[in-house]
Symmetry: C2
Subunit: 328 residues, 2 copies
DNA sequence: TCAAAAGTGTTATCCTTACACCCATGT
DNA sequence: ACATGGGTGTAAGGATAACACTTTTGA
């Protein structure tokens, strides 16, 4: 017997406001397609879910168009930048399968929108780092990380002698405990490691055992949506370096401080102010407009714009070494 | 009416031998699922196709496992490194749709294997640059590029006044005609531009008009497989910079020259020998074994190995700025 | 006048590039 | 001996990181 396959679309819709990266979530309670039978952990759990929409092979010419239409309709906002993230199809990723539903394959997209107001019933903006708190190093080493390291140490010790070395190596690489230090890009690798180690509550939910036997970290999301979020955050952190994607998230005119705050929010790192300014200006990525913004508190800041010509001039126009020297 | 959806898997299987990047292709003539009715351009055309396999939602636990099993079975080779590339689902991408077949969605993967012998009936290794000749700059500016530039100039002029600027900007960015110069990473962007400009024969095939009205470049592939190949080549060129993926393509022991040739083959660039050696050695990516290879012609070369510890030591362990200084 | 944020200058250090040169082997 | 490729040294130039410092506003 060949089961049916259905294709869905998921969107990680990111914005930055108040120096926090936000992701648009919906309340799965409101999603009509989830049957009540799934009980604990899904309906009634209050878990946040990523917005998802259908892909209708009879109607939709392309995946991206389907996504755009569907997001536009739901959020009443024009999403500019969209890119495909990954296709998720692991067995059991959608709990409806357990009730005899079709195998659901989901193509996830990343969308970037400006911090303007997207205010739709049943959806809200949530801080990305509520779900992935260990990813935010702007205030120095996150508190969670010590506890996390201890829990991972337990996971390493829980395996046989031979595998411990591999586990330890993996932990060290993912979390930068070696000489390499923290690498902001490996968001997904870290989430997957925590999942395998039983340190996120989705692991226990997927086991059908909603009570974690041990510490868990970060707020959970419905289904495998936290994994998808991690994929999205990792992707944009990587892309920041060599593509001018930051500008999709801010207004046309911005101050250098404002730009820095957005880069910091996404990368989860605190950057060195003076050098950030210089690097960005020298890179040709922006140009001054001559106008000033005097809502800044101190001395008014000059407003800058993205310089489109940089695309012709530089090979990998992004905020470089993620991005400039770090502060702290 | 909602049409059926079917999910297939495609693999871009890359190896490097004789300093050429190779891709494993099959003869679509041999693929049982292609009906004869599709006539010109598909069956009987002799076009190369990427190997493809089924995804069976009833059997396969994950996409990657399905791919691994299926490739293993076809090529009798253990593919080590595998990564998901992209999911293709544009309407009309599979000509069977025109005959009332289901909508076929294809999840493409990139696999890297060592140059050893994979010799299977109905499949063969072909030079990647036969399909994408403008991507090989190892011998200086490729011949095709002048002709290509002229043809693109025609495409720019063929649009209304307003759009010409945009078209010209896009051409300049993609092909590095501006100050930025050639960017090896943008393989897909270039292919898509050529497709839109009618400069690859797939464009005419998709129109149902197998006779191109103008020059076309590179050997065509069946369906949208050349687009998939371009995606794969772009991906590995990007990844080379910050992940030690080269080592998936070579034997455990290698000379630095050998390593350089593989990097050059993939990146399509000629590199500066002395500095490549030093950069690679200093990076901690490799370690000498003390043993020598005396098949090299001149003085025997030391054999090196990948140094796994580098993963703990360096944040983005790859062959850097793609990769080291260029020669020529 | 002070706090807060904008913006400039300078220097030590490291990395990259380019070039020149020597070494070991087979023919 | 010489061709071929392996391998090392060094110095110029550029980019980066860390520092101290001045400027301009609002309260």
């Amino acid at each position: 017997m060949t089961a049916r396959t259905e294709v869905g679309l998921n969107a990680v819709i990111l914005a930055v406001s108040d120096q926090q990266p936000r992701v648009l979530t919906v309340d799965p309670e409101q999603l009509p397609e989830i049957p009540d039978a799934l009980g604990p952990g899904i309906k009634g759990s209050g878990l946040a879910a990523l917005p998802s929409g259908p892909f209708d092979p009879a109607q939709d010419r392309t995946l991206e168009l389907a996504l755009r239409n569907w997001v536009q309709w739901q959020t009443k906002t024009d999403i500019g930048y969209v890119e495909q993230l990954y296709t998720f199809a692991d067995q059991g990723r959608d709990p409806r399968e357990r009730l005899g539903g079709p195998r659901v394959l989901s193509v996830a997209y990343l969308a970037l929108i400006k911090e303007g107001t997207v205010d739709v019933a049943h959806s809200r903006w949530q801080d990305c780092y509520a779900f992935l708190p260990w990813e935010d190093w702007r205030g120095g080493k996150p508190e969670a990380i010590e506890e996390l390291a201890a829990a991972l140490e337990g996971w390493i010790g829980a395996d046989g002698r031979a595998n411990r070395r591999q586990r330890r190596e993996r932990v060290e690489i993912c979390f930068g405990f070696g000489d390499a230090g923290w690498d902001g890009y490996q968001v997904l690798e870290r989430y997957e490691l925590l999942y395998e180690a039983g340190l996120v509550s989705e692991y226990w939910l997927d086991l059908g055992d909603p009570k974690p036997r041990g510490p868990v970290f970060g707020a959970p999301m419905a289904y495998d949506h936290r994994r998808i979020l991690a994929t999205g955050l990792g992707r944009i952190r990587g892309k920041l370096r060599y593509r001018p994607v930051v500008f999709e998230l801010i207004e046309r005119d911005f101050t250098l401080m404002g730009l820095q705050h957005v880069v910091e929010a996404l990368s989860g790192l605190r950057l060195h102010k003076q050098n950030f300014r210089r690097l960005v200006e020298r890179s040709g990525l922006v140009e001054g407009t001559g106008r000033l913004d005097n809502r800044t508190g101190g001395r008014p800041a000059e407003l800058f714009r993205f310089r489109r010509e940089v695309l012709r001039e530089r090979r990998a126009p992004g905020v470089g070494a993620l991005a400039g020297p770090r502060a702290d």
